[in-house]
């Protein structure tokens, strides 16, 4: 008997030890439940983290664009005169963000914002010989822009040099035009302006449509093509906390008058999916937790009946009701704790094993594994609390036992 343990702990541990089979079975049941929760949560967290990482390496966290142009009809609101006005939405010209240098300079001073990259986006035709394709031309300042969208990671041929006569194109466009590194192609914009550009790099963004349409040129080149010298159509931003992007976007919109769209808004479907996953995971957690709790409760209810004589003796020897209560609450807590420790480590090992077993055809991992140690701490703590709570009903029953009746059996 350990002399550093209080009496209730000793009694609880001894009772659990004596009912060995029951104890083992219920610990196994708790362990399976906790393992499922840990495995699922770790898997979900990894997949979501992986998806978010993929999304965020190919697009800015916040994009600023000029506000829409709207028609303001003139009305003659005179008494007795009715005006039937049809207001037509004006066509949206490609416009520069007004005072973009000032806005960019302001945003650079905000501590939440890590990168500010002005870009010029326009559409154009890529022409080579008889073939032509419509493309999106993005004029960038490579040093800043590549910090937001990691084009260098996707380059399959050439380099990321973007001088005034250079262009980076996707693999699909290169195939369609029949061009290779170092070839020249004509880019003509809707404005009538056209330039001959040299292909310095070919990238593969992992998406066929993007590889067909996306091209990158120097900011100055795009400005010339779209007849907006000195202008930019968008300002791309990255922020420190990606999940705060929506809030920061709203603040920027209010402070500058431009339209600010966060990645959360532009990927709202993805977030709907994430929320649905998280919700179903929570529901599964709750029900697994409930079944574990009822398992523990039922084992302890039986144990109280089996031990009613022991309880009677303890009461006859002066054990207080509160002590009996604690003995059974502790048993619930200890069962859940032991089960949770076994379950959390099993679940953790299972996800690591499963992750290493599941490979892409080329042998690389399917997705990077994200295991938050807090997940284990949380699972174990919640299980212990659940165990104590589940023990409440049987424990009160044990404490309420009349010693005379209990001893007579």
């Amino acid at each position: 008997m350990n002399r550093w343990l209080p009496f209730e702990w000793i009694a609880a541990i001894r009772f659990l030890k004596e009912g060995r089979t029951q104890t083992l079975f219920i610990i196994t049941a708790v362990a399976i439940g906790v393992a499922v929760i840990v495995f699922m949560s770790a898997l979900l967290a990894s997949l979501q983290a992986n998806f978010i990482k993929r999304v965020l390496t190919s697009q800015p966290h916040i994009q600023l664009i000029p506000p829409d142009e709207i028609a303001r009809p003139q009305r003659f609101d005179r008494p007795g005169l009715a005006v039937a006005a049809t207001v037509q939405r004006p066509a949206q010209r490609i416009r520069s963000i007004e005072q973009w240098q000032k806005i960019a300079a302001l945003l650079k001073t905000w501590p939440d914002i890590t990168n500010v990259s002005p870009t010029m986006v326009t559409s154009a035709l890529a022409v080579r010989g008889d073939s032509n394709r419509s493309i999106t031309v993005t004029g960038i300042d490579p040093d800043i822009y590549f910090r937001i969208v990691k084009i260098p990671d996707y380059i399959v041929a050439g380099q990321t040099r973007v001088l005034t006569d250079d262009i980076l194109i996707g693999t699909e466009l290169a195939r369609d035009l029949g061009v290779k590194l170092g070839d020249k192609m004509i880019v003509s914009a809707a404005t009538g302006a056209s330039r001959v550009l040299t292909i310095t790099g070919i990238f593969d963004l992992g998406n066929k449509a993007a590889n067909q349409r996306s091209t990158f040129v120097a900011l100055r080149t795009a400005q010339t093509l779209s007849n907006l010298v000195g202008g930019v159509t968008t300002i791309d931003l990255t922020v420190k906390d990606v999940y705060a992007a929506d809030k920061i976007a709203n603040t920027i919109g209010a402070a500058t008058g431009v339209e600010a769209d966060s990645w959360i808004k532009t990927n709202s479907q993805f977030f709907t999916a994430v929320n649905a996953q998280t919700l179903s995971n929570t529901v599964i957690r709750i029900f697994v937790g409930l079944s574990v709790a009822f398992g523990i409760a039922s084992v302890l209810v039986v144990s109280v009946i089996q031990r009613s004589k022991d309880i009677g003796i303890l009461r006859a020897m002066g054990t207080a009701q509160g002590q009996i209560l604690r003995i059974f609450l502790l048993q619930g807590g200890l069962l859940a704790l032991a089960g949770a420790i076994v379950g959390a480590s099993t679940g953790g090992c299972a996800i690591v094993f499963w992750h290493s077993y599941l490979r892409q055809p080329d042998g690389t991992e399917l997705f990077p594994l994200v295991i938050d140690p807090m997940l284990f701490v949380e699972a174990i703590l919640i299980a212990a609390v659940t165990g104590v709570a589940a023990a409440a009903f049987p424990a009160f029953g044990a404490a309420k036992l009349d010693p005379v009746v209990a001893i007579r059996g």
Partner: protein
């Protein structure tokens, strides 16, 4: 069940309680043992009147002043002999200190069970278990030990041993005993015999 009971148990007394089954012996024992409350009448234990005490105080008084030995010994099977003897002391003191351990060892020595102190309760003979129960009843140094047919389940030799053990404890420690028994031989070796018939004391 019980009527007109007027009974005084003195310190150091060794009393037998006899009577046919159904005469109220166990009820009387439970009331004196504070396990049951009387519907009327008063009970004094070491000078304190018990009908006004609340459950917690009753539990405390029961733990300190009274010891119990039952027919079916009722040791807690999950614990060893030594731990069963320590049990009443633990209830009071929470932590099993070396002092408590020593006290329990001394009590087991007194009932002659030192070699068996680490046996689980279930791995001992009936007589041995009953002696452990007596040691346990003595742990808090109670004024009175209530024994409900302590020898009822034992063979003659073990019954004699257990009875002698109680008598020795009574003389050495000065603990009073109230023993329910059907065995007239044993009852005659007590200081006094109380006989219950139909809930009344018929002979003192």
């Amino acid at each position: 069940m019980l009527r007109d009971i007027d009974l005084v148990l003195r310190r150091r007394e060794f009393v037998a309680l006899m009577g046919p089954s159904g005469s109220g012996k166990s009820t009387l024992l439970n009331i004196i043992g504070l396990l049951d409350r009387p519907t009327s009448g008063r009970l004094f234990i070491e000078g304190s009147e018990t009908s006004t005490l609340d459950d917690a105080a009753i539990t405390r008084l029961r733990g300190r002043s009274l010891g119990f030995v039952f027919q079916y010994h009722y040791l807690i099977s999950a614990f060893t002999a030594l731990e069963n003897v320590m049990m009443p002391l633990l209830v009071e003191n929470e932590f099993p200190s070396e002092k408590i351990r020593e006290r329990a060892r001394a009590l087991l020595h007194e009932v002659g069970l030192t070699p068996w102190e680490n046996n689980l309760a279930n791995n001992m003979s009936g007589g041995q278990q009953q002696r452990v129960a007596i040691a346990r009843a003595l742990a808090m140094n109670p004024a009175l030990i209530l024994a409900d047919e302590p020898t009822g389940n034992l063979d003659t030799k073990s019954a004699d041993q257990v009875f002698e053990m109680m008598r020795v404890v009574n003389r050495r420690e000065g603990t009073a005993f109230l023993i329910v028994t059907h065995n007239l031989d044993l009852a005659r070796r007590c200081d006094r015999i109380i006989e219950l018939v139909d809930g009344r004391i018929s002979k003192l």
